[in-house]
């Protein structure tokens, strides 16, 4: 695995990353003004036990935009995403090194309270995973944990606005007390998004949120992502390049644990700089 980094290293002169010219093979055409950077990852390396999964990722994620991660499966997109809210902490034997700053705060530091961190960084998973509880309780769970909505009416309001934001309120208004697992797949996924935004996060991480859904439900989620963009910084992992092209402003292409190319979505899809990106986008591998 390790020698791959060197083998795959491409023309260094194409690299515009000034900080890490030598170690980082990445092509980045993106210039994000410092004040718009929401998350700054520097040299993030992850290993699962002996196995290295990420080889030094440098990436700036801009505020209030949608950033998508694409790449063949197993390349480390989810792994990197889980670094951003420290979900990797829960995996035995997983170690993360490097720096990740969110609004200037080092979130990998031991002092960071992961509970508060995860209240700020919501997550939506590949497979819709509502709790086997009522729709209401699904949404109310996060706020309850964080002591929000102490009175019944406050909580009702949080639940309703969250469901409203994901466009689910109309559909489930009169069955809030029925189990969330009884909804259709697309509705379940929107319920999960409502659950994530109920604690009023700043960032939403989505790991292939549509891969288990049919095209119509997918379209709805994509629409929703577009609407949420203004209020949240969104990072979405997707295996569908069309989806990345439709919903995101920036796209990062991962390959074998490396960030190969990162740029404006349009640029990545129309004029990729790296051969591997080109190959992936044109469907030659993946």
């Amino acid at each position: 695995m390790k020698p791959m980094t060197k083998e795959n290293a491409i023309d260094i002169d194409k690299s515009v990353d000034i900080n890490n010219e030598m170690t980082n093979p990445q092509v980045s055409s993106l210039q994000i003004p410092a004040e718009e950077v929401k998350i700054k990852a520097e040299d993030v390396r992850v290993r699962y036990g002996e196995k290295e999964a990420l080889f030094g990722i440098n990436l700036d994620i801009p505020q209030s935009k949608v950033t998508s991660f694409i790449g063949p499966s197993g390349c480390g997109k989810s792994t990197f995403l889980r670094c951003l809210n420290r979900m990797n902490d829960t995996i035995d034997g997983c170690s993360v090194t490097g720096n990740i700053h969110m609004d200037g705060v080092d979130i990998l530091s031991k002092q960071v309270d992961t509970v508060l961190l995860r209240a700020k960084i919501g997550m939506v998973f590949q497979k819709p995973n509502p709790f086997p509880k009522s729709i209401y309780d699904n949404v109310a769970y996060g706020p309850r944990l964080h002591g929000l909505g102490n009175s019944k009416s406050d909580m009702d309001e949080i639940v309703e606005t969250s469901l409203e934001k994901v466009g689910l309120l109309k559909e489930v208004k009169d069955r809030l007390l029925e189990p969330g697992t009884g909804l259709s797949g697309g509705q379940q996924q929107r319920l999960c998004i409502a659950r994530a935004i109920a604690v009023d996060p700043e960032i939403l991480l989505m790991d292939e949120p549509c891969s288990a859904l049919d095209p119509i439900a997918t379209a709805k989620i994509e629409e929703l992502i577009d609407e949420l963009r203004g209020s949240y910084t969104i990072v979405i992992v997707t295996h569908s390049m069309q989806q990345a092209a439709r919903v995101s402003q920036q796209t990062a292409f991962f390959h074998l644990g490396n960030l190969v190319e990162y740029g404006e979505t349009e640029q990545i899809f129309t004029s990729p700089q790296d051969e591997r990106t080109k190959g992936y986008i044109t469907g030659r591998f993946g």
């Binding site: 995860r118 997550m123 996060g142 944990l145 659950r195 994530a196």
Partner: protein, 428 residues
């Protein structure tokens, strides 16, 4: 050409052999099944045919004169006097009056043995409740003795030779006189469920054993359920995966296979001798059975926890729950049906356990119904063992009846476990 033919024939022969092997295998399987089923049918039919009469008891109507000179010669009418009076004498008198011809002392003694010694208690309770009965004459239904009961239930057969049955022709004649006047009937044996153990079969009941079992199970459950579930949660979710926890895990699995009598010896050595717990008491029995049940509960609970999809935990952690909150808010409630099923099955095992309890003295003859966990007691399976060991014929039906009660509890518990699993199980 011939070669081909030969090889075809050989193939045919092999095929035939394979089919025969398959048929044989199927036949063995079905045979085993039929055999097992027959065994179960035999077991149950033997128990039920022996035991169903245990739930009925013969009663005799005798004419009683509540003689003041016997009960309360001084006319005090206070509780002590009424409670201690010699009601046995009144019962006997009633029988002598019914058969004025019986004069010989030996015959009189045999005659008075037709009714149970329990009859005196019946009279006492009547008089204590209503002292105005003194001086009156009443017809009272009292319990028949176990021999009469066996005769009525046709266990002792009248047509058999006198020498081969424990009841004489003379006694049968007396009983028949009562029968001819419709003074004998069999009723539902409530005494069986309200009385403790007794040396007299007709008076023996399973209340004491039931209470003993209930109290023992209470202790077992109170100890093994929380300990087992906590251990399972810790091992499954929080324990670091190292050599030490691995050894613990292996030993829990080993513990499940330790013969139960060993737990009894352990209980004797530790709970009785070191901690000084009372002998024959449900508290000690409960501790011993809890040790025995723990591995079952831990193993079942871990399996139940493991079966909850990790996506639920991820979801909870994703909205900011700590690991402990995620476990207690989501994983544990979802695993509860499985945990309860395992617990019920473990408890059912403990309920049927005899050997370890023999070691800590729960095998004594105890007539009193235990009131609390440190009273001497016995449990249902040990009661079965004790009665099976008694010489009187009437204990046979008691034994089978007690087995039926025990099996009833076990089947109910297992059915409950299945029902819980069916009802509360969620699918993803």
């Amino acid at each position: 050409m011939t070669e081909l033919k030969e090889s075809m024939q050989k193939a045919q022969a092999r095929l035939k052999k394979r089919h025969a092997a398959e048929t044989r295998f199927k036949a063995f399987g079905i045979g085993a099944l039929v055999f097992a089923f027959l065994c179960v049918v035999m077991l149950f039919s033997s128990i039920i045919s022996n035991g169903y009469t245990g739930f009925r008891q013969s009663y005799m109507k005798i004419d009683i004169t509540f003689d003041e000179s016997v009960i309360d010669p001084q006319g005090k009418r206070d509780f002590d006097t009424l409670n201690r009076a010699d009601y046995g004498k009144i019962v006997k008198q009633s029988l002598y009056d019914f058969f004025p011809d019986v004069k010989k002392r030996g015959d009189k003694r045999t005659l008075s043995n037709l009714v149970s010694s329990n009859a005196a208690y019946t009279l006492r309770d009547m008089v204590v409740a209503d002292p105005s009965l003194i001086g009156t004459s009443q017809s009272v239904w009292v319990m028949a003795s176990d021999e009469v009961d066996m005769l009525i239930k046709n266990v002792f057969k009248r047509e058999d030779d006198e020498s081969t049955r424990p009841i004489t022709n003379k006694e049968i004649a007396w009983v028949e006189k009562y029968e001819s006047e419709n003074r004998i009937e069999t009723r539902f044996n409530t005494n069986f469920f309200t009385a403790g153990d007794s040396r007299e079969p007709e008076q023996a009941g399973i209340r004491g054993a039931l209470m003993g079992s209930a109290l023992t199970m209470l202790i077992t459950l109170a100890l093994s359920f929380p300990c087992g579930v906590m251990a399972a949660i810790y091992l499954e979710e929080f324990a670091p995966k190292n050599k030490f926890t691995h050894i613990v895990e292996v030993n829990i699995n080993n513990l499940a296979a330790v013969p139960s009598i060993v737990f009894g010896l352990l209980g004797l050595a530790i709970f009785l001798n070191i901690f000084g717990m009372p002998r024959s008491a449900p508290v000690a029995g409960g501790f011993v059975l809890a040790l025995m049940t723990l591995p079952t509960i831990i193993i079942a609970s871990r399996a139940a926890l493991k079966s909850i999809p990790p996506s639920i935990m991820e979801a909870a952690i994703g909205v900011g729950a700590s690991k402990m909150q995620a476990v207690f808010h989501h994983q544990l409630p979802l695993a509860l049906p499985g945990i309860l099923t395992g617990t019920i099955i473990g408890m059912a095992q403990a309920l049927g356990e005899t050997a370890p309890l023999l070691m800590i003295g729960m095998v004594a003859f105890i007539a009193d119904v235990p009131g609390w966990i440190n009273d001497p007691a016995t449990v249902l399976p040990v009661q079965v063992y004790l009665w099976a060991d008694s010489p009187e014929r009437a204990f046979v039906e008691k034994t089978s009846a007690a087995i039926m009660v025990l099996l009833g509890f076990l089947i109910t518990m297992n059915a409950l476990a299945v029902l819980l699993r069916k009802k509360l199980e969620r699918r993803w």
